[in-house]
Symmetry: C2
Subunit: 197 residues, 2 copies
């Protein structure tokens, strides 16, 4: 993992945004490779060169830092390309997402959702730091497709998020059936083509 | 809560199926009114008139008994009517399900799914006692609709479960958006009509 550059004018003078980015970079690499359970302020401090005191000031708990770092680390992977065809863009994004969910980071995400069922503060952090932003990205891309006439104007695109990513989460959270490539493709086909005869 | 009938020939002689039904009835009423957290063998024993020793023999833990009781208690609510029209049958079932999920029993179900993310034994029990059976009921009704020509023959009906109930679970587990009646209706319309222009 690359170490942050030494601060040119002493750590105390470094801009907050820069310190924050260093921490998120170091913590993100940890979450993606190991999951969330072993992430402590101690270890993030060592990896990022940022003091534990500063970490405590910037994040209320290691769990919240882990979520924040996770979101930043996967932002690119989960970005929506806009190649002008919503079906192929969705397929590419959903396949990326399904792959990501098979990594330790993805497993960690499911444990976050799990723990947040009995921890309202964690649930709030999860929505603020992760799921709210993810939904917004999806809405934006889907609304653009709708404005281009690829999706019927009377469709509430917010519902599609639950019928695509939500359906994948469902198979991961209650794994009665596996998340296969065919499953991901069927999600998109069913919605766009419709299942009626 | 109705007490079980006294055993006519002494408790030792009662058929296992009958004892089991009494316990499930008493425990099911508790789960639906209070959720799962407070359910103990002690309280179920008092409410059902079945000894704790017997409960320990029949269920490995109060959590597993709670799940088993929950499934039996809601089996009717969640049954699929077959009125010959899959869209209206689905809507009726999905609305029932959404309503059930707003009760303490529904909240308990989300906590089960949550806890099972870090407890493989509970996850297995959940699938064996609850979600596997629920999926089977849905497959059966959907396959019948497919055989009647209401759903295209190339559709894998297993995927529909994730795009209908799974989508509702997603909004409940990560509540960025509410589960409204309009949401439930949109789930069915999107799938059957298709969202393409």
């Amino acid at each position: 993992m690359p170490q942050p550059e030494p601060a040119p004018r002493g750590r105390g003078r470094r801009p907050t945004g820069e310190v924050r980015a260093d921490v998120l970079h170091a913590a993100g690499a940890m979450v993606l490779s190991e999951g969330i359970a072993q992430l402590t302020f101690e270890r993030v401090s060592k990896a990022s060169g940022v003091s534990k005191t500063t970490l405590y000031k910037m994040w209320p708990s290691p769990g919240v830092l882990a979520l924040d770092a996770y979101f930043h680390a996967v932002a690119d992977t989960l970005a929506f390309d806009d190649d002008g065809d919503i079906r192929s863009d969705l397929l590419r994004q959903l396949h990326s997402f399904a792959r990501l969910m098979r990594t330790p980071g993805g497993r960690a995400l499911l444990e976050f959702i799990g723990a947040s069922q009995s921890d309202p503060a964690l649930a709030r952090s999860f929505r603020e730091l992760y799921s709210g932003g993810r939904r917004a990205l999806a809405y934006e891309r889907l609304a653009k497709a709708q404005s281009r006439g690829e999706i019927r104007p009377d469709v509430d695109v917010r519902v599609l998020v639950d019928q695509l990513w939500g359906a994948i989460y469902h198979r991961l959270l209650v794994p009665d059936e596996p998340v296969t490539d065919e499953f991901v493709e069927a999600l998109v086909t069913n919605l766009f083509t419709g299942i009626s005869t």
